[in-house]
Symmetry: C2
Subunit: 233 residues, 2 copies
DNA sequence: CGCAAACATTGAACGGTGTGTAGAAAGTGC
DNA sequence: GCACTTTCTACACACCGTTCAATGTTTGCG
């Protein structure tokens, strides 16, 4: 090979795989997850459907790859918002993340549905690997905020009783390593925060709110404000 | 016609339609929404796929009919739980409804996904009709609880600013008729409550929590408890 | 350089899907 | 009994994902 790390073929291969994903992503935003058709993608690329099988073992594998990218995109948006919030102010941080979460979802509804919905019928997140890792990033950011504001929370309310055995062992060990001394109750709160944020967003993205309110964003922001104030943040 | 109201043919027609829905429902619980295939249903009934088109204009129409039934089933479960809760105790009522919501979802995950997910890609709830009515029942129950406990809420917290124009006109008029004097802020709170309950349930049903916690029910119940206490209920 | 192995791509095929259409069969009402 | 409507079959159409043998094409090694 002429290059030290990547051969010419490997480079072409990566480019083709990226093009496949790009076209699939466009099909997703335009026609939803059901619009991602291997035949249509191949048609767009001047290829045959079977050719794609050199790059992705199956349609689900392609969609999984897409999900990893999208998980990272959402986590990047959250991280960027978090970086723009006042450090040491968990309330502002939580608000920033929550608004970024909703804004990303509203801007990319089909992508959001692909990640958190059931576009791939029988799809199960693999036990390990980049997919799971990418999915963890979002929750990890929340845990960081909770860790920073934990003392303020406990000053005004007694959290639920929780034990480390209530959680996935991998997650438990990860949190204990990254935030030494943080009690399991804080992890429970992190997940609850995620649920709180996720709820209204999911209702909005899936069209349930459009029958009720004309200002879903206002409702969401007010809910987040109530949340931060209830946490003493 | 021999009978006063329903002819023999109309009766047979209703029975066949019910059988189609029943088989579709079984296919849903066993293989998910994607497993609902007109050909498979017809095969089970000893018919041809085309025959189903005398009963449902299209596959989506069949699924919509299923959704109406399921919406009502969920609302029935909530109403039953509500009836078992102490009258005049909004906290107990909210807890009962929330637990019933989650229990129904856990017991019927595919049905829950069909209702609140995107099984039918481009499906939009019709402006009027039984589908929308059935979907409204769940939220209406919450509004009733909020109406009953509204004074207790305002005693401990100042709700978000809201106006009737923030909401769907039909909904606004409906609430104003049913709960005279109830401010728009109470409607906003109802929707927020729904979102709060919905969030963790949706994360659990869609498998996002299984990577994090081993006791999603415990987390949910604790969240509901925190919710009622924060509302002074 | 030459050659064998790995890879990329095609085109056809298989079994599956929803959805139309034409026509036969059967129930309904006068 | 006759006209009409509804139900159903049979078939065709246009898609879909996936597999497979065959055919070029690229790569790395001797």
């Amino acid at each position: 090979m002429s290059d030290g790390t990547t051969s010419r073929r490997a480079r072409l291969r990566a480019e083709t795989a990226a093009e496949i994903k790009a076209i699939a992503l466009k099909a997703l935003t335009e026609s939803g997850a059901a619009g991602i058709s291997l035949r249509a993608i191949a048609r767009d690329m001047g290829m045959t459907a079977g050719a794609i099988y050199s790059y992705f073992d199956t349609r689900d594998a392609l969609i999984t790859a897409l999900m990893v990218d999208l998980h990272n995109s959402l986590a990047d948006a959250e991280a960027a918002a978090l970086a723009g919030a006042a450090a040491g102010d968990p309330g502002a941080q939580l608000t920033a993340i929550a608004e970024a979460y909703r804004e990303w979802a509203v801007a990319n509804p089909e992508e959001f549905r692909l990640i958190y919905g059931d576009a791939v019928p029988g799809y199960e997140m693999p036990e390990e690997g980049p997919a799971r890792e990418a999915a963890h990033r979002a929750c990890a950011l929340l845990t960081g905020i909770v860790a920073a504001g934990w003392s303020k929370v406990t000053a005004v309310q007694t959290p639920m009783a929780a034990a480390w055995t209530d959680f996935d062992p991998t997650l438990a060990r990860l949190v204990q390593d990254q935030f030494p001394g943080l009690p399991p109750e804080a992890v429970a709160l992190s997940i609850q925060l995620w649920g709180r944020i996720h709820g209204l967003v999911v209702l909005e993205i899936y069209g349930q709110l459009s029958n009720l309110t004309l200002a879903p964003g206002k409702l969401f922001s007010a809910d987040v404000a109530a949340l931060t104030s209830s946490l003493n943040w």
